[in-house]
Symmetry: C2
Subunit: 440 residues, 2 copies
Amino acid sequence: MFWEKEFETLRRKDLEKLQVDRLKKTINQAMESPFYKELYAAKGITAERISDVKDIRELPFTTKQDLRNHFPYGFLTQPKKEIIRLHSSSGTTGNPTVIFHNRHDIASWANLMARSLFCAGIRDTDVFQNICGYGLFTGGLGFQYGIERLGCLSIPAGAGNSLRQIKLMRDYGTTAIHAIPSYLGRLYEVFQAEGLDPRKDTDLRIFVIGAEPHTEEQRRRIEEMFGVKAYNSFGLSEMNGPGVAFECTEQAGLHIWEDAYLIEILDPETLEPVPDGEFGELVMTTLDRQAMPLIRYRTRDLTRIIPEPCACGRTHARIDRIAGRSDDMFIIKGCNVFPMQVEGVLLRIPEVGSDYRITLEEINGADEMIVEVEVKKDWFNGDIARLEKLTRVITSQIRDEVLAKPIVRLVEPGAIPKGKGKAVRVIDKRKQIATQIQTT
Amino acid sequence: MFWEKEFETLRRKDLEKLQVDRLKKTINQAMESPFYKELYAAKGITAERISDVKDIRELPFTTKQDLRNHFPYGFLTQPKKEIIRLHSSSGTTGNPTVIFHNRHDIASWANLMARSLFCAGIRDTDVFQNICGYGLFTGGLGFQYGIERLGCLSIPAGAGNSLRQIKLMRDYGTTAIHAIPSYLGRLYEVFQAEGLDPRKDTDLRIFVIGAEPHTEEQRRRIEEMFGVKAYNSFGLSEMNGPGVAFECTEQAGLHIWEDAYLIEILDPETLEPVPDGEFGELVMTTLDRQAMPLIRYRTRDLTRIIPEPCACGRTHARIDRIAGRSDDMFIIKGCNVFPMQVEGVLLRIPEVGSDYRITLEEINGADEMIVEVEVKKDWFNGDIARLEKLTRVITSQIRDEVLAKPIVRLVEPGAIPKGKGKAVRVIDKRKQIATQIQTT
């Protein structure tokens, strides 16, 4: 079952041919923008130089800094009159990143979103509750337009207010939910506090989770708690937002829509392609965006191509779950550490509760990684020896994973402050001004 | 200049003919729902009985209580599969009111919204910042779809965070804004605090204000502060949300889209039609909604038809600004009072600041109306006599307007708590449990 069989199951050869055609079109379109016009003129780049997808390697990269430097209209290829929406990053100072969409772009995005949801088994008979912020954040309107395009009954619930979310689910028989994974753990706690069991007291069957890194263990835990299938969604606002790559019902990697995006996986240091199957930085080129095409955009997300064909029949490449970001990585005691690695360890330990936080701090002249870990509710029974034993277990397993020894501190459930949006996992106090690394 | 000249300028005779056709269709459609099926069968009502718009008077009314009693699907005419969105009132207990829309309904609503914005002088060259909550509140998605349908550059800003709102306006050259009127006063204060003048430091030219009652004085004050034209918008979620009636550039009443809504103005006591020009309760029938038609829905909003034809050339009736609601009205010392009346008085007094609050309370065995009034910033210079004089002026002017003598208390600017959404204007402490009358 496909949303658009003719595109989703294109033979690789034909898909590449389509990509070359669309890439040439995209280059011509991009050259209508001040940024690419100047850049490509200086380098003598024209669409004629492209006759194979590999030829994209001759083109220069585009970075988030380029977007900021040429804010707001440097990448715009059309008069403002043609544009019908912008999404921009938040903040009240400095240049945000902004993406402009014309009517074609919004329709194309909605279609990709519908294709993504269909691919995860969602149908027009589903009742889809979109639990995420609307407004400038792309998860709200991005999903909304896709849900409606697919023909589900959409409930534009927005973020927060778990009691109300549960009431909506029960009032309207919600079968599918989009939310960030860390929220779902909290939501389950509210179900429990209300004496409700989502397996019996709701019609939930499918979750779509994204916008926040999470591990396979976390996904499985969510599936068990709610008795649903949870599918990974990947997107980034520079590439519209959600609807870039999505898991099919095989749950074995995320199909990235190659008729809309040309992807490369590059070694983040050498910027040369890595072999299929190896991890590297995802670099993306829009192939179906008119108002603001981006060519060889460095996403900073680390993933790999899953080389085998997918059992579902879709020919579009699958990427693995995002293994981290160059920006997320921190160095402690000389080791490169991704927060995801720590999270993966914690999720395998049954005594561990729903939240953790990493603080990097200078203690007695040495940099230390402090990992605060919430224990499960009612686990601590006053037995200090039990606390110490669990602390030792966590310490050694994290050290085995990241090679640096952490200072582990067990805390009560709920002791780690929970924000409304994405969880802040790492606080680096080693710099003069504490910076928060928000994992994306 | 019209969005849909063929509909907006229909001769009254032809408009009525269209209404009769659509009303018959609507009755047939409505009878697919459990509620109307039973109701109309019991009363022997069929579409055949309608040959003139006046024949609608033979049909029974529909009330908010009917919607609640037949929650959630009693008014639904189609299988859930056909529905692509719901909007529902908030709350975590009791039955909310919910409206279901199919694909046709969403497209029709977006078109009415685009027509409304066009009618207020907004064009596809405008940059439109939608400052209101998204999600289940109809103002967010309702405006969003209309702005995009019209072809403006939409900024889905959401509510709150005034500094960020101002940055968005300045970054992208916002020319048009939708917001609730009470927010705009606060926004202006933030402009001032930042040393900015919206007249010089922005490209703003049009405001659309609604979702909250306000007076002509308040509108004029907003226009002066920002150097813009402010147009009134009227809608209610049971009739989709925004896009029901809108001011044209004549600013002389709101055109109510009679090809989509059949309207009646009835005496709220006798439920008989009042003559054109006289105030009564607005009763509405959807003429272009498929999933959930509502017939003779009692809005509880008090308004009147403005009888003269409009200079703009649109033939659709104009309604006057909403003069209050049966639900809003309170009785004090035997007088019927609408909060709007008090507001109207306060806005004519130059020393008065941006907020006020009415508290109804038993004092020494007598019911009293306490009106707290914020004075303008820097107005109070320590001169007690000045305070007393202003208090006397306000007291007597309110008494002249509502016929009951209030207790007026002047307070510092900012002293009245400001919520995020609609301003709470009346607190009635006379009942055992304090109820908040939220003016809608």
